[in-house]
Point group: C2
Amino acid sequence: MRQPQQERSRTTRRRLVDAAVECLAERGWNGTTVAVIAERAGVSRGAAQHHFPTREDLVAAAVEYLGEEQISELRARAAALPDGPSRAEPVAEMLLDLYTGPMFRAALHLWVAASTDENLRAVLVPLEARVGREAHRVAVELLGADEARPGVRETVQATLDLARGLGLANLLTDDTRRRRQITRQWARILEPAVATRTVRESA
Amino acid sequence: MRQPQQERSRTTRRRLVDAAVECLAERGWNGTTVAVIAERAGVSRGAAQHHFPTREDLVAAAVEYLGEEQISELRARAAALPDGPSRAEPVAEMLLDLYTGPMFRAALHLWVAASTDENLRAVLVPLEARVGREAHRVAVELLGADEARPGVRETVQATLDLARGLGLANLLTDDTRRRRQITRQWARILEPAVATRTVRESA
């Protein structure tokens, strides 16, 4: 009996987390309550509160869980790419598209709400640091970047900060065309700065 | 009599605009009403509505007006810098610090609110385009960038998108130390990409 119950519990959590992200992206932090999320997830409010005592817990879990999932997906897609410098452009595209979907939209609502809400800020600051470190790690992996070389660590950081800025530029209008042009130029900038490890391997 | 009245009118508008930015940065869009802004500015609600019929008009004027002011200030500071490649680092610092103050915080509240509010979106989208173009123009000027060279336009755009991403990273915690390291690396990346015009002049 233990396994099926764990299974059910996982399904419930997953449904709540998906509903929380949808709800945040569509209605913002003020429109996102445990009751609204539970209803959207088809879960009773009591069950929702059993898993996540407060809405802060629930939305933080949502951002973290889906952030991890997004990163796993990125790793899987990147594994299919060839090694060497030809890798720079598709990897730049993957990274610079990272924050253009509903996940970022949801997280942005939270960040902005947290800037005027102490409770939410206390939950989000450590989460932001953890998710940020994980995104950095996967960017280093994907680019084949050698962080022992001076400046490479900062170039990888700049790539992710640029990606967040591009996410912001995509919030109110579809910025895809402009982003594609920036991505091509970014790949050229990244090539000498970070691709040495894969270049060396393929030489 | 005409001049003093225009003068008073300008003062009133300016007070409302300053109050709107403070109010947005501290309380977000939901806490920012014409009544709250008027009270903070020491202006009657009627007078506030005479200048700005809706809160959308008022906050849009605020973001636009202060955005322009920030850009004028940037131009003045940049005029004091030496020409040539030594210009890259101080200019990179000015540009990458551009979105770390209360102005960006206020604008961010608006952007995020506009993503779930059609009326606000209709006001902000053209404003965002105008302010964005102006920021691009001043960045080109400050960097001495020659946009006729391939890739330069996109590098300047990336600089401003990176600056917005860094603004986001500075929202919940003080990110100055990390931003300084990224800025130094960014100046190195910018140097060959854009500083040719000033390099040529100083050669």
